[in-house]
């Protein structure tokens, strides 16, 4: 019996040595057969900004070049269609613009700045690319969140600014409201928001989350006139603006458009100007 046991042990030990203890990873060629999709992005608003539409293609895994990934589609037809009017957006590219922004890469603009979204109206985005593919999306612009408090040109004291109440008219077509407290940095034309980005709140709210560091410390001059903006978001813009970075990384994305990826949403805005000291 002892001999039999020894034989078994010997066989096992030999097997171990034959197999070794390699712990290599397994590298393989990977072809997911992915057909690039059209990626479209546009958020329209009742604000007086110039509206734009980004139209580009997603890329294959091995096409990503950090310095030279040209994904923009330059020859698409882009329309935003309202109840009775259609606005065509035109491709525009300004190579003098900031590196890596979409003006430098190419973007579709309402060149004459004629388009202004109206609250309560439904708009359809249609993007036709030359190979025959079409991307469509739809949004209904929320009603204006009329601000009832504070009144225009109310004087706020910086010591008590956090207690300032902001109140606006709720409307049923809005998914959520974002509140901004915007001040201009004197001499630079830069506007900064002293409330957290994507600060979502319901009416009434206060400025309790304001970053009053700039107000209290005079490190650099900011205007003593501020704009309190209440932004009423539709579901598409709400979901897109508030998705976490983690969600982008893990690929849990939104399926808002037909025929492509990206988003088409809208928001409406009301604002009041206040003074502070």
């Amino acid at each position: 019996m002892k001999l039999r046991s020894r034989k078994i042990y010997t066989v096992i030990l030999i097997l171990i040595f034959i197999m070794g203890c390699g712990y290599d990873t397994i590298e393989e060629i990977y072809n997911p057969n992915y057909t690039p999709e059209i990626s479209v992005f546009s958020i329209i608003s009742t604000d007086n900004n110039q509206e734009f539409v980004i139209v580009e293609e997603t890329i294959q895994l091995n096409e990503y070049d950090e310095y030279d990934s040209n994904t923009i589609i330059e020859d698409a037809e882009v329309f935003i269609i309202g109840d009775a009017d259609t606005t065509q957006f035109t491709f525009y590219k300004n190579s003098q613009s900031n590196y890596n922004d979409y003006l430098s890469k190419g973007i579709y603009l309402d060149v004459n700045n004629e388009f202004l979204a109206e609250a309560g109206k439904t708009y359809q985005l249609v993007v036709n690319v030359p190979d025959g593919r079409t991307v469509t999306g739809s949004t209904t612009v929320p009603q204006i969140p009329a601000i009832s408090q504070p009144a225009h040109w109310t004087l706020l004291q910086k010591e008590t600014i956090r207690n300032t109440s902001i109140q606006w008219e709720d409307n049923p077509n809005t998914i959520g409201y974002s509140v901004n407290f915007l001040v201009e940095v004197i001499g630079s034309n830069e506007i900064i928001n002293l409330l957290p980005d994507n600060y979502i709140s319901n009416s009434p709210t206060t400025l309790s989350n304001i970053d009053d560091y700039f107000l209290i410390n005079n490190f650099f001059p900011i205007s003593h006139i501020a704009t309190i903006k209440v932004i009423a978001l539709d579901q598409n813009s709400y979901d897109y603006l508030l998705k976490s970075d983690l969600a982008s990384y893990i690929g849990t994305d939104l399926n808002i458009l037909e025929g492509g990826v990206g988003a088409f949403g809208s928001f409406s805005v009301d604002f009041v100007k206040v003074r502070w000291e």
Partner: protein, 795 residues
């Protein structure tokens, strides 16, 4: 009407008193004789469950319950031979004379049936086959756990993973995915108290020390009304009471840890203590770390203890406890650049201390009011906590913790109405505290605190309607105070004996669960490694998770020790919850809601006795979940939101699983064991391309894109098939007063490269000529071939 906690408590208390009164009324004296008592093992005094006790020459008899208690009643006057049979033990018998409604208590001590040259494996499979009504119930003995090859040392959960219906997620994860349920849907009980995170080392090992285990009952589904607050399974682990006859000890030494167990008698009782600690940190830091800067800052330990005290044969008190912790503690020099000397200087020590572990203690009072009314009352406390402290110098510190604390008060009473009829009823009160907090530099950033109270009562009726048909019906009623919810869970099981060795079984049950853990599927690290479990109560905003179990099957026993079983199941889930990974807007959008279903067929052929024993299992399973797509806007009460759902196979949906576990005792001294698993691949979500994710300001010159991966449809691809073959050789050296069992185990003998996770190569590569190379992905394998050695000893 506002229902207060006090009112609820009163309702439950009245229900409970009513049940006691009914049973008291039903036990009015009759002219029948009664025999009752306990069945114990002669060598150590441990109680034996599932032993057959019967009166020879009659149809009267009983099977000992999980406490070793039996009762036979309605015995006419006369002389009888009382026999006790259990596989692996010699038959015990006593002759008794009964008359005038006599009640006689007879305790039996069974001696092991030792036949020279043969190995006796104690099993109650045959007894369970003849008496057990419930479907999907499997018992595993300590011997089976210890025999199965496992990484470095025996592990309970690794053995359970070889059973049909149980999915193994990976070599690094011992969590149990049972019949389409995730691990938090299992109720894991250690000596009647729920354990909330039964893992060490991020799930590589289970937390239970196998040396202390007496037996393990596993209900894969269709469990009776006695158990609630779980939608998938019940795994009840009972530790040994301790040897009440003589002092003994055992232990083991492996590459991972050392274990020691001591047990022995005390006046009117027994005790058992066991402990384990890993020492890889000692070995590495002493012999390797001293020669390099590297060190292993990690270890774990656990401790079990149990004391039994018998006030009288009918009155027993048991105190048991479990304490275990994983500890990761690091210290490093805090360095600072000194401008004057133009050099780095050490200005202090940075310390990080992470601990996670379970603590539980149970006080159990077992009392026999009269031979026909057996009772158990339990007061138990269980806590799982994760604690993380960091000290990084002046004004820099972190302090985070996640704690779930459970206080349970439970009473189970069994009324033996007749040999054919048994009623189990009881109550269950559970108070749970959930606390999650995080402080950075003494500023509280996260502060989540909730508590919940559960009041349950149940009634369960086991009735033998004929010699062929047994039916178990039950109803569990639960009130929980988050959301003022009552739930009524009906359960029914039936067994029909078609032939003496062929049973047909079926069961149906409604199950609810009121707290849950979330391991987001899309975050690979959290999905594949169960480092910690964050438990949350299902609060007023959501409904408790619900599952309906439908189970049917056959059991066929042949040659007295081969058991073949075939079971099919269907589980219908509703009110499932998942983490909303996009929900960063506030509390209202934390979770996504949905439903799901699971179905499968399981085959098992098992042999528990003889020199050659083991089992072979095959499972065909389908699991599907339909859950809301992650959205920031899914906060509760927002009727404007357009809700969309996606249906997918969860990451633990393994279609085919085949396992062979075999043990062969070649001689008294040498034992060979093997385990072979082959399974189809688990789902994963592949990365297929790149796209831009946009951040916007107010104007076109304020829009930027960040490239992020494009993922295919959720879990639309599967990893390659999984295969692993393990072997184990154990040799016993018997000395005068002690024995030694060295063993050698080899995990993944064929060094099969099972893919744990894919790492997608996301960047463009070009060759020397500038040509773009095809995309690649890298499969990170699980365990390679791993030989380990160790030794068990007993004195």
């Amino acid at each position: 009407m506002i229902i207060t906690q006090r009112r609820i408590f009163k309702i439950f208390f009245i229900c409970f008193l009513l049940l006691v009164w009914i049973s008291s009324y039903a036990q009015k004296p009759t002219s029948n004789n009664i025999i009752n008592g306990f069945i114990k093992e002669d060598a150590n005094g441990e109680t034996l469950n599932y032993a057959n006790v019967y009166l020879d020459g009659t149809s009267l008899g009983d099977m000992s319950n999980e406490n070793g208690y039996y009762v036979i009643d309605e015995i006419p006057d006369g002389e009888y031979r009382v026999k006790v049979m259990m596989m692996g033990y010699l038959i015990e018998e006593k002759t008794v004379n009964l008359s005038n409604s006599q009640t006689l208590t007879i305790n039996f001590s069974l001696k092991e049936d030792i036949i020279e040259g043969e190995t006796i494996v104690v099993t109650a499979e045959k007894e369970r086959f003849e008496n057990q009504i419930e479907t999907s119930k499997i018992q595993i003995s300590r011997m089976e756990i210890e025999a199965a090859p496992a990484l470095i040392e025996a592990d309970l959960f690794r053995t359970i993973q070889t059973l049909p219906g149980v999915v193994t997620h990976s070599d690094f994860n011992s969590a149990l995915y049972i019949r389409g349920g995730n691990p938090s849907e299992n109720m894991i009980l250690l000596d009647d108290v729920r354990i909330y995170n039964p893992y060490h080392l991020g799930g590589v090992f289970s937390t239970f020390n196998t040396d202390a285990i007496k037996n393990v009952d596993i209900s894969l589904g269709g469990f009776p009304a006695r158990w609630g607050n779980a939608t998938s399974s019940v795994i009840s682990i009972t530790n040994k009471d301790g040897n009440s006859k003589e002092f003994e000890g055992s232990g083991s030494v492996s590459l991972l840890s050392s274990k020691i167990e001591l047990e022995g008698p005390i006046p009117n009782g027994s005790f058992l203590i066991s402990g384990r600690r890993t020492y890889f940190d000692f070995i590495y830091n002493t012999f390797v770390g001293s020669k390099s800067d590297a060190e292993v800052p990690y270890y774990f330990y656990d401790f079990h203890g149990k004391i039994n005290y018998h006030f009288s044969p009918n009155n027993k008190l048991t105190l048991s406890g479990f304490y275990g912790d994983d500890v990761m503690s690091t210290e490093s020099d805090r360095e600072e650049w000194n401008e004057q000397t133009q050099s780095i200087r050490v200005v202090g020590t940075d310390k990080t201390d992470i601990r996670f572990g379970n603590f539980s203690t149970t006080l159990k009072w077992q009392y026999i009011f009269n031979p026909k009314l057996f009772s158990e009352f339990v007061v138990a406390k269980s806590r799982f906590r994760v604690k993380m402290n960091g000290d990084y110098g002046t004004d820099e510190s972190t302090d985070a913790q996640d704690v779930i604390e459970d206080l349970t008060v439970r009473g189970d009473l069994t009324y033996f109405h007749s040999d054919n009829h048994e009623i189990v009823f009881g109550f269950d009160y559970q108070h749970l505290d959930f606390n999650i907090s995080m402080d950075i530099n003494d500023t509280r950033l996260i502060n989540y605190s909730r508590n919940a109270n559960f009041y349950s009562t149940f009634l369960q009726d086991d009735w033998k309607l004929s010699s062929r048909l047994n039916i178990q019906t039950g109803l569990r009623m639960t009130y929980y105070d988050l959301g003022d919810n009552f739930r009524f869970d009906p359960r029914i099981s039936a067994r029909y004996r078609l032939m003496h060795n062929l049973n047909l079984k079926a069961s149906f049950g409604l199950y609810h669960q009121y707290f849950y853990t979330f391991n987001p599927e899309d975050i690979d690290f959290l999905n594949y490694i169960r480092l910690i479990d964050l438990w949350f109560p299902i609060d007023e905003r959501y409904k408790p998770i619900q599952a309906i179990h439908y189970i049917g099957g056959i059991e066929y026993m042949f040659n007295d020790d081969y058991m073949f079983s075939l079971e099919g199941y269907f589980k219908d889930y509703d009110h499932l919850l998942d983490l909303n990974e996009i929900g960063d807007a506030g509390e209202d959008d934390d979770f996504l809601r949905g439903h799901g279903r699971a179905a499968g067929v399981e085959l098992m052929l098992r042999k528990q006795t003889g020199d050659f024993n083991g089992w072979l299992s095959y499972t065909l399973a389908f699991t599907e979940r339909t859950i809301e797509l992650p959205r920031a806007s899914y906060f509760i009460g927002n009727s404007n939101v357009n809700r969309e759902f996606q249906t997918y196979y969860p990451s633990y949906d393994r279609r085919h699983s085949f396992t062979l576990v075999a043990n062969y005792q070649t001689s008294e001294k040498l034992k060979l064991s093997t385990r072979f698993s082959y399974a189809s691949g688990l789902p994963e979500t592949p990365t297929i391309g790149w796209k831009n994710s946009y951040t916007i300001g107010g104007n076109p010159n304020d829009v930027y894109g960040d490239l992020v991966p494009v993922k295919a449809a959720k879990n639309s691809q599967r990893y390659p098939d999984y295969m692993r073959w393990d072997i184990s050789v154990m040799h016993t050296f018997q000395f005068e007063s002690w024995s030694l069992q060295p063993y050698l185990q080899i995990i993944n003998l064929t060094n099969h490269k099972n893919i744990f996770i894919y790492n997608y190569d996301l960047y463009q590569e070009v060759d020397a000529s500038g040509n773009v190379l095809p995309a690649k992905r890298e499969g990170i394998p699980m365990f390679p071939i791993v030989p380990t050695i160790g030794a068990n000893f007993k004195f």
